[in-house]
């Protein structure tokens, strides 16, 4: 503590340089915190159905291929399955193409048993079931478009040749997903003239331990049929969805590491300059009795503090920034419930600590090992 004034005064002796270094580190850690939070967001989305004992059944050929309704009855007969529901990705948008979000047709009477984590008040669910054109929407969507219960909304279809005309009958609550829209499969079938095929079945399994075996049984059942299936857990399904846009995790992690490596180098240059300017002062400190260890400790503390300041400013700054920015709207529904979490802030601060140690290590060691006589000779 008694050295704190010495450290702090040295830290800000060149205010412009210290300010720019902190600003640079803060900007990069803001960027890193954003990338890590996007990955977090994907991970959360992938984990949203964890523990819900749900399996998704899709065509083994591709997600775009449909499965016949007849599959559903055969799947339901497998032991351990308590409920099944059809689900169709509709891919419609609201008013303008940029207003794109997840919208699905589902079996209205089965939804509450298969997707029991989507909580809807009883009266709203009853109203949804009674209205063939009823829809249940997420609170994020309702807020984004100003929808309220009783509103009539018209979506524009992109995949299927019809524009769903829907009545908002309920607003669901969900731990992660706040921006999806569900409407009745019956309305979808009516609009398309009873297609007899659907994109996916979702299956509720009674026992979590049986998920793997049920999954294998479903695929085995249709392996030699004209419409083979591929069954996923919800997490696998989400990950498959995300992987369609490439190996995001590898890309973001690599970019984050490159950014951090860059600030290690920039930090090392700045800190070397700072140490070089103080050669005589360090020699004086050594002369009056400061040991090598003391000099190393003082210099390293100073450099680490600078990096921590930048790291914390960037990570906390990102946390505050994204509280006030509607990322769902900004990313057209791609990122929902986006924010910089506590663990991400901690990770950034820990990375900043590493940056401080790495970039300050060499100049601090060189300063500590400076010959007193040589150091004094620079000026004396």
């Amino acid at each position: 503590m008694k050295f704190s004034r010495l450290i702090l005064k040295n830290l800000f002796r060149n205010k412009l340089r210290a300010g720019l270094t902190v600003a640079l580190m803060a900007s990069i850690f803001f960027f890193v915190a954003t990338l890590l939070s996007i990955l977090d967001n994907f991970e959360q989305a992938a984990n949203a159905g964890e523990g819900k004992n749900r399996l998704g059944v899709q065509s083994a050929i591709s997600l775009a291929d449909m499965l016949p309704y007849a599959h559903e009855e055969k799947i339901r007969r497998i032991e351990g399955i308590t409920e099944t529901s059809k689900l169709q990705w509709v891919g419609a948008y609201y008013k303008e193409q940029k207003n794109f979000f997840a919208n699905f047709a589902v079996d209205a009477d089965k939804m509450e048993r298969v997707w029991d984590d989507y909580r809807v008040p009883d009266d709203q669910r009853a109203a949804f079931k009674q209205d063939r054109q009823g829809t249940i929407v997420g609170p994020g969507l309702a807020e984004r478009f100003g929808w309220k219960i009783g509103d009539r909304i018209v979506l524009t279809g992109t995949i299927f040749p019809f524009n769903p005309e829907l009545n908002v009958r309920g607003i669901y609550e969900h731990a992660v997903d706040s921006a999806s829209l569900f409407f009745q499969m019956a309305y979808f079938e009516q609009a398309l003239g009873d297609p007899g095929q659907v994109g996916m079945f979702w299956v509720k399994v009674a026992d979590a331990d049986r998920m793997a075996s049920v999954s294998e049984e479903i695929d085995a059942l249709f392996r030699n049929s004209e419409y083979p299936t591929e069954t996923f857990t919800e997490k696998e399904f989400q990950q498959q969805f995300i992987s369609m846009i490439g190996n995001i995790k590898l890309l973001f992690t690599t970019v984050s590491l490159c950014a951090i490596f860059m600030i290690v180098l920039l930090g090392a240059i700045t800190m070397s300059m700072s140490a070089r300017e103080r050669v005589t002062e360090i020699a004086v400190l050594r002369a009056i009795g400061y040991s090598r260890g003391a000099i190393l400790g003082l210099m390293l503390t100073e450099f680490v503090l600078l990096a921590l300041l930048g790291g914390a400013a960037g990570a906390f700054g990102a946390n505050v920034f994204y509280r006030f920015i509607d990322m769902t709207k900004l990313t057209q529904g791609f990122l929902v419930n986006f924010g910089v979490s506590g663990p991400t802030i901690l990770l950034c601060v820990a990375a900043a600590l590493g940056v401080g140690l790495l970039s300050g290590g060499l100049p601090a060691t060189r300063s500590a090992n400076l010959s007193v006589v040589d150091g004094l000779r620079k000026v004396v």
Binding site: K2, F3, R5, L6, K9, N10, R13, T280, E281, V284, L285, R286, A287, I288, G289, Y290, S291, R292, G293, A294, V372, V373, L376, V379, V380
Partner: protein, 237 residues
């Protein structure tokens, strides 16, 4: 009088590329406690090197350096740093104050290495700045002080730990005549009233006149043994 500093057949040479530069050649000397010794000589004569050896910031190539009964030439780096903190006060030609610290904080620097409490440190710093006549400039930064005042702060920093010996390397070399006069008065006062042992390197004969004894070095050997110092002289050229 008891010898505070004993230099016994000390050699010091530096290696510069393929050349060996011999700076001190078998120098032997004893300095009694309470002395004020001026070291004079042309550039390259070895006077600053001798001062550095006595101050424990350099080591002899061979020979013994004993200060206050302790042979410092054999101490390890860490022990030598602790020894300097306790026993040596430094005064440099260019003052070498830390520019971002106030006069008070500069003087407090050596005390941060001790176990003194904040209150005790304050009392020591105030006393030291009082001795050098800067009790009213404690919160001033070096840039807000004149050269003479900066050097007085440096002297306060040198005496604040009550060291065994004060080493001064050209303490008036960067000052005008009036300021130099004040600094020499101060050093003389520290020697006479506070019985501080002072070793000073200088080129200035007027500064050397203030010392009790003057030694002349040339090419690493003592060329004049001034009365009052215990004889030892040079062993070889």
């Amino acid at each position: 009088m008891t010898a505070l500093v004993t230099i016994d057949n000390v050699h010091k040479s530096y290696q510069r590329d393929e050349f060996e530069i011999r700076v001190l050649n078998g120098l032997t000397l004893e300095v009694p406690a309470g002395d004020f010794l001026a070291l004079m000589g042309p550039s390259g004569s070895g006077k600053s090197t001798l001062l550095n050896l006595i101050a424990g910031i350099d080591r002899p190539t061979s020979g013994r350096v004993v200060v206050g009964g302790k042979e410092i030439s054999t101490l390890g780096e860490s022990k030598l740093a602790s020894w300097r903190a306790r026993h040596v006060g430094f005064i440099f030609q260019m003052y070498n104050l830390i520019p971002v610290l106030t006069a008070y904080e500069n003087v407090e620097l050596p005390l941060l290495l001790t176990r003194l409490t904040r209150k005790e440190r304050r009392s020591h710093v105030e006393a030291a700045l009082g001795i050098v006549g800067l009790g009213d400039r404690m919160q001033h930064y070096p840039r807000q002080l004149s050269g003479g005042q900066e050097q007085r702060v440096a002297i306060a920093r040198a005496i604040v730990t009550d060291p065994t010996i004060i080493v001064a390397d050209e303490p008036t070399g960067d000052l005008d005549a009036a300021s130099a006069h004040e600094i020499l008065d101060l050093l003389q006062n520290l020697n006479r009233e506070f019985t501080k042992t002072i070793m000073m390197v200088t080129h200035d004969p007027r500064a050397a006149e203030r010392a009790r004894h003057v030694l002349h070095l040339d090419k690493g050997v003592l060329i004049e043994q001034v009365e009052g110092l215990v004889p030892g002289g040079t062993s070889e050229a």
